[in-house]
């Protein structure tokens, strides 16, 4: 009999397939394939530029707030108002995005990933008196488990007590992520797909009742992050120390930086942000971000060759039957180099960039686990970076709330120009997000988005360099080929915005097992 898993939540967003070639129990080669194409760039063409902000949010229902932020920054720059956003608009955007990021971080650890490390089946043997936990025990006892079908995993390493404790927190985390979305909706109107962040600022007016309402949801979230989330990640890291070594991948991270700290700098690369931008390699050196070096390659993607290039030149011409291609995802590269994006990239850029609060935070956690900063380049290093990133933003927000000037406008009006270009770079919880626009005749002539999962789940590029997830899987020892928990743990640590199916292939291509990572 296997163990019972209770997993009532989405564990990966979207549609992704991963093929791993396994020889003598070791992954020789992995391929990452995106299997859904909707053609947003094509749909956006010819529309009113202002509508991009509404439409691009619908690219992803898990990180729509980040898309609305990227779109608003993109349009701000195209409309010539990037340095004119009112102070309240800047702060409210930060608050809406920050609350949404906190919701995403909590969801990613507890609901998308924790079940790879925590045996929730332990609740079937629960003997305590907690009514919530007993309701789950009842559910398990009834035997109709719905999606929570038995999954064999003989690599659970936490004690019965620790499993029960984390299971309870898994349920609590549902409530906390909901409250974080409520906080974001206080100024964002509704979530998912907020209506508040627009080019020019934010439509909401900050009033004292709203500020207080936000603050007290935030306080509850900070309490959860400090006393539950971060300690739980550290607990898991201590129980699974090998995952602080494996799954590193390309060991080069790229961050655009996020959360605006000033309103007068129009250049987003130079603008002061809470999380810094830049590339960090294994030697822990910070290299400046150079947007002009970012290029998307399409040799192994189902797009016509002319779709390669800088995002501002990129085209989207689907060719679903292209010979040799294996993904709907393009391969973005910085100066031809493979880069990983995510909270890890943000935390590293800020840490290596010398932010004292970030240094204290990261060093403290690393010391508690007993590892060096290099351990951050790993499966559980990514989770630790997300928890630390959540704390860093949550701790920054109370001061921002108090900085708001109640009742003052958060929005500035503008004219849509006849012709213009724009760029909006920011960060989704799962990594660097960029939008680019060209406007002609007051209409969208070109709109391109390079999303985090495009970086992380990219297929091989023009030089056959595998993408970050593909690299992270290469060389991994698989204990049981029919239940490759190792692959699930590594792929999920990237929080791909896609549903994954993992196919295990023998070197000759014969399928020896098939597992859906979801």
């Amino acid at each position: 009999m296997g163990q019972i898993i209770i997993d009532p939540l989405t564990r990966i967003e979207g549609h992704l397939k991963i093929e791993a070639m396994v020889e003598d129990g070791v992954v020789k080669e992995a391929r990452s394939t995106g299997t859904l194409f909707r053609g947003f760039e094509i749909i956006l063409r010819g529309r009113d530029p202002r509508d991009a902000q509404r439409i691009t949010q619908r690219i992803c229902g898990v990180c729509p707030t980040s898309h609305s932020t990227a779109a608003a920054l993109n349009l701000d720059s195209a409309f010539g108002i990037a340095a004119k956003i009112p102070g309240n608009g800047r702060i409210l955007r930060n608050l809406i995005l920050g609350a949404a990021h906190i919701a995403d971080h909590i969801l990613h650890f507890y609901h998308l990933s924790a079940l790879d490390y925590v045996d929730i089946g332990a609740l079937g043997k629960y003997e305590g008196k907690d009514p919530t936990l007993n309701s789950v025990k009842d559910f398990i006892t009834r035997g109709e488990l719905g999606p929570f079908i038995t999954r064999y995993n003989d690599d659970f390493r936490l004690s019965q007590e620790a499993n029960v404790e984390l299971a309870a927190r898994y349920l609590k985390a549902f409530e906390m992520r909901r409250k974080a979305q409520e906080a974001a909706a206080i100024f964002g109107g509704k979530l998912p797909h907020n209506i508040g962040i627009v080019p020019g600022g934010v439509t909401a007016i900050a009033t004292v009742d709203k500020i207080a309402s936000f603050l007290w949801r935030l306080n509850e979230l900070r309490d959860f992050i400090d006393n539950v989330y971060l300690p739980d990640v550290i607990k898991v890291a201590k129980a699974y120390p090998d995952y602080l070594e494996i799954g590193a991948g390309c060991k080069r991270t790229l961050s655009y930086g996020v959360y605006e700290l000033e309103t007068t700098e129009a250049d987003l690369v130079r603008r002061k942000r809470l999380f810094k931008n830049g590339l960090v390699s294994e030697s822990l050196e910070l290299e400046p971000l150079d947007i002009s070096k970012i290029r998307e390659e399409v040799r192994n993607s189902w797009y016509a060759e002319e779709c390669a290039g800088k995002p501002t030149e990129g085209k989207t011409i689907p060719t679903p039957h292209k010979e040799g291609a294996y993904s709907w995802i393009k391969s973005p590269r910085s100066d031809g180099r493979v880069c990983e994006v995510g909270s890890l990239a943000r935390v590293l850029a800020t840490y290596v960039g010398g932010d004292p609060r970030m240094r204290e935070l990261v060093d403290g956690a690393l010391k508690e686990i007993g590892v060096s900063a290099k351990a951050l380049f790993s499966t559980l290093g990514r989770h630790l970076a997300r928890a630390l990133g959540a704390k860093f933003i949550a701790d920054s927000m109370p001061a921002w709330l108090l900085e708001l000037k109640p009742g003052e406008p958060a929005y500035i009006d503008y004219e849509v120009p006849e012709e213009s270009e724009g760029m909006g770079i920011t960060e989704a919880a799962r990594g660097a997000l960029g939008h680019w626009i060209k406007i002609k005749d007051r209409k969208i002539a070109l709109y391109q988005c390079v999303v985090p999962t495009t970086w992380n789940a990219s297929p091989r590029d023009d030089h056959e360099q595998p993408g970050p997830i593909e690299q992270a899987l290469a060389g991994i020892k698989i204990k049981d080929e029919k239940n490759p928990v190792e692959i699930g743990r590594i792929v999920r640590s990237f929080d791909p915005c896609l549903a994954c199916a993992v196919h295990l292939l023998s070197p000759k291509g014969t399928e020896i097992g098939r597992v859906q990572v979801c």
């Binding site: 939540l9 749909i43 079908i149 038995t150 909901r178 979530l191 508040g196």
Partner: protein, 291 residues
């Protein structure tokens, strides 16, 4: 435990969508998502969500087996929930949900085979109901709503449309609860687009707290100003939904409450017939077609 609990099998498929509908359902306040999935959401009745492409804990073969088993052995008993539109161009190649016998299976083929054998379908969100954002002009992947797809293939299983981009969690949970309590809705309980009248029975405009401004012809000229948002492109006067009464995210806010014009996200033809979103309605010809 020997409690007698009726299990209602549910299969949830995702197509050309963004998972926003799933995320919105997670925001359900009372009942909570835990109540919906674990507890008897109606006493003696349990929603047995057997398949959610991204929830499935088990192996792929096991997951696919659940689909086969439900389709064959629970024929006519299960509810199929579809989130996302159905891409139909190029035989549906633009969305693939798993494989059978080593070959990719399109969402189109899954929706047709599972739909034909279901008790009913809930088309959740505007994409599944009417095509939504991915069907926006020029609709590069031939996206269509479920009912539209069924009509082409002569499938007559009842479809309940719960649009919204995303739909409010109450609309979904309330519809499921009503099926658990009283069975499928009677025709008179649905509007002409097969939306439950309970939630989609009146225009945003009819219940809008800014209605008095409209009646007095006081119109906001800029986002953030008081006044009716009609001139700023508000589509509340052509959009059926109870947002102004129900409010969103635990009641903290809603679109117009946030000084933002309604974008008409519950209507057939969204986004094209209700955009440009910031343009006053009589002053534009909607994208891709007639007004």
């Amino acid at each position: 435990m020997n409690k007698n609990v009726d299990e209602y099998p549910v299969i949830w498929l995702q197509g050309a969508g963004c998972t926003g509908c799933s995320v919105s359902v997670l925001n359900s306040v009372s009942p909570t998502i835990k109540n919906v999935l674990i507890d008897e959401v109606i006493p003696g009745k349990h929603v047995n969500l057997r398949f959610h492409p991204t929830i499935m804990a088990g192996a792929g073969e096991l997951a696919i087996e659940v689909l086969r088993d439900t389709q064959e052995h629970r024929k006519g008993e299960y509810i199929l929930i579809v989130e996302g539109a159905v891409p139909t161009a190029e035989d549906g190649v633009y969305a693939v949900v798993g494989e059978e016998d080593g070959k990719p299976v399109t969402l189109l083929s899954r929706v047709l085979s599972l739909g034909a054998n279901a008790m009913a379908i809930i088309a959740l969100g505007t994409c599944a109901a009417f095509g939504g954002i991915p069907s926006g002009s020029p609709n590069p992947t031939g996206c269509r709503g479920v009912m539209d797809t069924f009509e082409t293939h002569n499938i007559s299983t009842p479809v309940i449309n719960i649009p919204g981009c995303p739909p409010h969690p109450d609309w979904f949970v309330g519809t499921v609860a009503s099926i658990l309590i009283g069975g499928l809705p009677e025709p008179e309980e649905l509007d002409e687009f097969d939306r439950p009248k309970l939630f989609f029975g009146s225009l945003i405009h009819e219940n809008c707290p800014r209605r008095a401004y409209y009646d007095e012809r006081k119109f906001a000229k800029k986002l953030g100003e008081p006044g009716c948002l009609y001139d700023l492109g508000c589509k509340g006067s052509v959009t059926y939904a109870d947002c102004p009464l129900r409010l969103w995210n635990g009641g903290v806010n809603w679109c117009i409450g946030n000084n933002s014009p309604c974008i008409g996200c519950c209507e057939p033809g969204f986004p094209d017939v209700v955009s440009p979103f910031y343009a006053k309605m009589e002053e534009y010809l909607p994208q891709g077609g007639e007004k």
